[in-house]
Assembly symmetry: C2
Homo-oligomer: 469 residues x 2
């Protein structure tokens, strides 16, 4: 007995997938993923229509979805992130039903509580045995953690593992156990390694970015949180990585041993683990090869499910114990609301991912952003889209000063005592406008193309149509 079937199409047939059902995908193969496209092509060939696609993130590699939307194969999209090409297509009003954006914690919560049931989950697995015990840590397409795929596999009515490397049974160190898997399909390749993981990500060389990163570390020191047991998450952007680098230097110099690093994990966080800054890494997604090697070889580099990472429906998640998170923003307003969904024209080009979840959980939620980008102010009266509510953001670090949310009076005083250049956020906005001018309001229509669903299940904002020029 084994669960191998000859083709993706056969697995779709066996799954009983019918018009109107929901299929799910995860994004650990990122822009190198072949699986979503292969599956959707098989589904389209079978003539199945009116599907909901629930994908933890969607990248430009998934552009064939545009055709499936036009042809009525896909009529609903649920995702946590959408890159610019598909975003522009959605923003242009090409889909009848609004996209539902969730957060990386809200998505597994709604899968588990039955709000967004999955009929068939497709798991892109770099290594699997014939019964479906599978992992992302091994194989030619190794991507490390499969954290976002775990709730899908567990809760879907039917789960298909798609792999390009079959291992003898039982594969040990599984991310997903055979108990959750109905069928296994072996294909030539599940993805393009160049798109799955980058080489070692480089920190910024931009002096503005480096200056902000240094200020960010000064803020962390002044906050009082940087002590024995410190925990930390940062993004993979250049300035965030630079902050991690400076933070490491401080922790080593001052002999501060933290407890854990969290998140999407880069080689910089692996260095911090290996050099003793943290006791462990909690990893829902690996960003580079160094992270993949580390999660494979180091038992203190732990794979966590999306639920364990950030679900507000779990009895607790790691974000609830997080000290400091450094996050980015495409816009921030004077109420500290953050936009990471749309560009300056109001077009979709991102999504919350874990932004809202970590901001809500961390004791100190810090945004690093320059005052303006490409001559457009980042600090504004009102963000075009509220991705993360200002009530969960503590501090904005820019190259011209640091703004503290008025709710954090004690933090503000600590920063002032530490001689950090604390300025009012309205002042930062005025500076940005003096440099870059007041931006024109983008020409946004009335029709809703996407709902932004906060981690508590409420619709925190709606994104409206932006017609093509």
């Amino acid at each position: 007995m084994n669960k191998l079937v000859g083709s993706i199409k056969q697995a779709v047939i066996d799954s009983g997938l019918k018009d109107g059902m929901t299929v799910s995908f995860h994004h650990h193969l990122r822009n190198g993923d072949y699986v979503l496209n292969m599956v959707m092509e098989a589904i389209a060939e079978l003539g199945i229509k009116d599907l909901t696609v629930n994908a933890s993130s969607l990248f430009d590699a998934h552009r064939p979805l545009k055709e499936h939307i036009k042809n009525g194969v896909v009529t609903h999209i649920l995702t946590d992130y959408m890159s610019a090409e598909l975003g522009r297509f959605i923003s242009a009003g090409n889909m009848a039903n609004p996209v539902q954006f969730r957060t990386h914690g809200g998505r597994p919560c709604d899968i588990e509580n039955g709000t967004t049931p999955i009929d068939v989950a497709f798991i892109a697995a770099p290594a699997s045995d014939c019964m479906g015990n599978c992992t992302g840590k091994l194989g030619k397409s190794a991507c490390g953690s499969l954290g976002y795929a775990m709730p899908d596999a567990k809760n879907a009515k039917f789960t298909v593992v798609i792999t390009d490397e079959l291992h003898p049974y039982p594969l040990t160190g599984w991310s997903i156990p055979e108990t959750d898997v109905n069928e296994v399909v072996v294909v030539e390749s599940i993805g393009d390694p160049r798109g799955i993981v980058s080489g070692t990500t480089k920190i910024t060389r931009d002096p503005v970015g480096l200056s902000m990163a240094m200020t960010a570390v000064d803020v962390i020191k002044a906050s009082g949180l940087l002590k024995e047991g410190f925990s930390f998450q940062t993004g993979a952007g250049g300035a965030s990585l630079a902050a991690a680098k400076y933070l490491k230097d401080v922790m080593l110099r001052e002999k501060i041993r933290g407890s854990f690093g969290l998140g999407g994990i880069t080689g910089y966080m692996v260095d911090m683990l290996n050099e003793g800054c943290f006791d462990s890494l909690m990893d829902v997604q690996c960003f580079d090869l160094k992270a993949v090697e580390s999660i494979r070889d180091n038992p203190r580099h732990c794979e966590i499910s999306a639920t364990h990472y950030a679900s507000p429906g779990a009895k607790s998640a790691v974000v609830d114990s997080l000290d400091v998170v450094i996050l980015g923003a495409t816009q921030i307003d004077t109420d500290f609301n953050i936009n990471v969904h749309t560009d300056s024209n109001g077009r979709i080009m991102g999504g919350s991912g874990g932004h809202s979840d970590t901001a809500a959980g961390a004791k100190l939620s810090m945004i690093i952003a320059p005052l303006s980008r490409a001559r457009l102010p980042i600090v504004t009266d009102r963000v075009t889209c509220i991705s993360t509510p200002g009530s969960t953001i503590d501090v904005l670090v820019t190259q011209k000063g640091v703004a503290v949310n008025p709710k954090d009076a004690e933090l503000r005083q600590r920063l002032i005592d530490a001689k950090i250049n604390v300025v009012d956020i309205h002042e930062l906005k005025a500076m940005a406008e003096r440099t870059s001018g007041v931006p024109e309001k983008p020409a946004i229509g009335d029709r809703v193309v996407a709902d932004v669903i906060y981690r508590d299940g409420t619709v925190i904002d709606r994104i409206c149509e932006v017609r093509e020029d």
Copy 2:
């Protein structure tokens, strides 16, 4: 924020436990367990009544349950195994409602599909952090795998971890993640190490047992299953361990590399892993200190959940891929039905555990038993209680010959070709009766004291009252 509360009683109060609800326990601390008694005492002091206790196994250490039954605190028991002291109490008719016996696979299946919902699960965890990430691999009360506790923690409405060793957050290598845990209670001691794990279990020195063990290995060789990729489970009884020892010698001599060893794991199976007989061990419960050390230190010694071990409700379980299992029996009848629930007087003194699950899953299910024990024949016309149906048993090995289930004609021929002493099971029965006499039928009443629920959910047999002498 953390989940620590000051006492078990406080956790019970916080859980909202009320009359008529269900509490659950697991048995990795075996006869050394303090947790069930501590919890039930707190519950009794709070005046809560009419509870269902769902415990993966019950041992003599749990004798205070007798008082809780008499006092109406506990009115229903669900378990997979019950040792003789409590068994005798139940058999004597001291409980109004029949005990429900399940198998180690049927129990998690029914927990997960909602047949036997759990209101409050109590997890005895040898090490935990303040958020409930916990493991059995560390701590002064280390017991190794927590496999049976995983479905309880996952599916209970409220989960309480009880530990005697608090670790810094986050504890890595968790068996159960914080996502499943509501509260953590730190107590002085969760169990008596002498009862939790034995020292290295000794194989039998009894020549009858050794002779049967050698025959068992001859049968395995003759079956054709002993080849590259071979998988194996055996019990912790003396003759079963001796069979493992002889099997290891054969595998090493003939350079046969198996795939996995399964089960409750002993040091003998660890030796087989370390000497290259298996690529991995799949471990739902550790029986001795050597197994505990191995599961902690060797990544190829894998902890599996009870679901992954044996659930018929899972999309597959490891038992489905098992080649050979060696099992014991208190009785076997001429239809190959097995009794592991009652003694020769019909009194409860055991339970299926994983017996039925592995028998159903394995390609070769072998019983090792002497023809008689304490002057009572083991082979009989009809077992007093059907624990495992004869349709899932392939072969009986005794010191006087090997009986093959008539359904296995090909296997029978293979054994004959290998010059194994194959005899009809009726002949074995006759031999047993010639030696030990025909036993008197035990004086069993009409009142049902326990239902034996097979892994498919059907009641396979009922156990009736046996009055005290």
